[in-house]
Symmetry: C2
C-alpha cells in the first residue's frame, strides 16, 4: 500500500542539559525520513560550520527582507544577532513526507504554533531533577560557577513553559526516553487526520473492492 503522508513538525524543547541533543541525534539516525530544521542567522560562521547544514548564513539586510516577506515560521533576536526558521525548506520536506525536527525554545514553539499548528507535535524534555541537571552542565563544560548559575536560571525559565507542550518526557534514562520519543512519533503518524491517504483506500473497502 502506498503511503503519501505529509511529514510532521516535531518540536523538541528542554532546558540545556536535559539530554535533548542526544535524543535528537539518535532519532535522526534511526529514521531515514526525518530531517533537522536548519535556521537562518545573521551571526558569522564559526570554524567548521557549513552554510546550509549548520545554518543559512545571511546578512542583516537579507534577514530583514525575509521577515518582511513572511518567509520565517519563527524568528528572534538574541543579543545582536537574528535567528529564524525559513518556511520554504520546511514546507518542501513536509510535502515529501519527511518529518522535520525543530530544536527551539518556548518562544520559537509559541510562534510555530501560530504559524503551523496542524503539522505540529510539541514535546518537552524534563530532567529528573535540578541537581542532576546541574551535574550534567558541570560535567560537560569547563564553565565558571557564574556561567553555570546563569544557565540554571535560564533552565528554570524554560521549564516554566512546559505546560504549553503536547507531550512531556522525563529523561531519567536515555534508553527509556528514546523509546518514548519514538512511540510519540509513531503514534502521531497513525492519527486519523494524518492518514488522509487512507481515504481512497477505505472507499474501496466499503464498496466491497
Amino acid at each position: 500500500m502506498k503511503t503519501q503522508r505529509r511529514g510532521l513538525m516535531i518540536v523538541l524543547s528542554s532546558p540545556s542539559g536535559a539530554g535533548k541533543t542526544t535524543l535528537t541525534r539518535q532519532l535522526l539516525s534511526e529514521n531515514q525520513n526525518m530531517a533537522m530544521s536548519v535556521s537562518a542567522t545573521t551571526r558569522r560562521p564559526r570554524p567548521g560550520e557549513v552554510d546550509g547544514r549548520d545554518y543559512f548564513f545571511v546578512d542583516k539586510n537579507a534577514f530583514s527582507t525575509m521577515i518582511e516577506e513572511g518567509e520565517f515560521l519563527e524568528h528572534a533576536k538574541v543579543f545582536d544577532n537574528y535567528y529564524g526558521t525559513p518556511r520554504g525548506p520546511v514546507e518542501e520536506s513536509l510535502e515529501q513526507g519527511k518529518d522535520v525536527i525543530f530544536d527551539i525554545d518556548w518562544q520559537g514553539a509559541q510562534q510555530l504554533t501560530q504559524a503551523a499548528s496542524d503539522d505540529l507535535v510539541k514535546i518537552f524534555i524534563l530532567p529528573p531533577g535540578m541537581q542532576e541537571l546541574e551535574k550534567r552542565l558541570r560535567s560537560r563544560a569547563q564553565d565558571s560557577d557564574e556561567v553555570i548559575s546563569k544557565r540554571m536560571s535560564k533552565s528554570e525559565a524554560e521549564i516554566s513553559h512546559w505546560a504549553e507542550y503536547d507531550y512531556v518526557i522525563v529523561n531519567e534514562e536515555v534508553e527509556v526516553a528514546m523509546a518514548e520519543l519514538t512511540a510519540i512519533v509513531i503514534a502521531e503518524r497513525l492519527k486519523r487526520k494524518r492518514q488522509l491517504w487512507l481515504n481512497p483506500f477505505v472507499k474501496t473497502l466499503v464498496q466491497g473492492g
Copy 2:
C-alpha cells in the same frame, strides 16, 4: 519518581476479521496495568461463561433500573437482548491508574465519547483489503455463504465510521499492528494533560529544588 496517573479508556473498534481479538489479547498479556471492560447483558450465560469475567449477567428489570439511574457509559439493544458498559468498575480501574480496553462498535464508541471524552483514546483497526477480510472470515468459521455475506455487509457498515476515531491502524502484519498499538498507548500516557502528577515535580524544578 512516583507516577499517580489516571488510566486511559482505550476503545478498539474494527470489522470482525480485522484482527482485533488477537491484538487485544496480546495488549492485555503485555501490560500488567490494563483490564478489559466487562459488559452487562440480559442474555443468558453460554456454557463456560463466568459472571463478572465474561459478562455481568443481569435480568431485564435490573438492566432497566441501571439505565434509569445512569449507570451505563453506553448501552444498546441487539435483537432481544440488552448490552451495556457499567460505569462503576471502569471508574474504579481508571482511578487505580489502570487502562481499560473496550471492545465495542461505532455506536458504543459514539456514546462513550459523550460520556467520557477526556479519558478516551479511540482506535480503529482496518483490514488490508476486503478480500483478505472475507478470507479470514471463511477460514475461521464453517458459516454458510449467506452468513458470510451478512457479516461482510456489517463490516462495511462498521468501516464507514472509521473517521470518528483518533487513530487508524491498517492490520497488514499483526507484529507491525501490535507495535503501532503499543506506541499509541505509550504516547497517550505521555500527553501533558495526562501527566498531572508532574505538576508538583515541575514546581520543585523551577524553585531550584
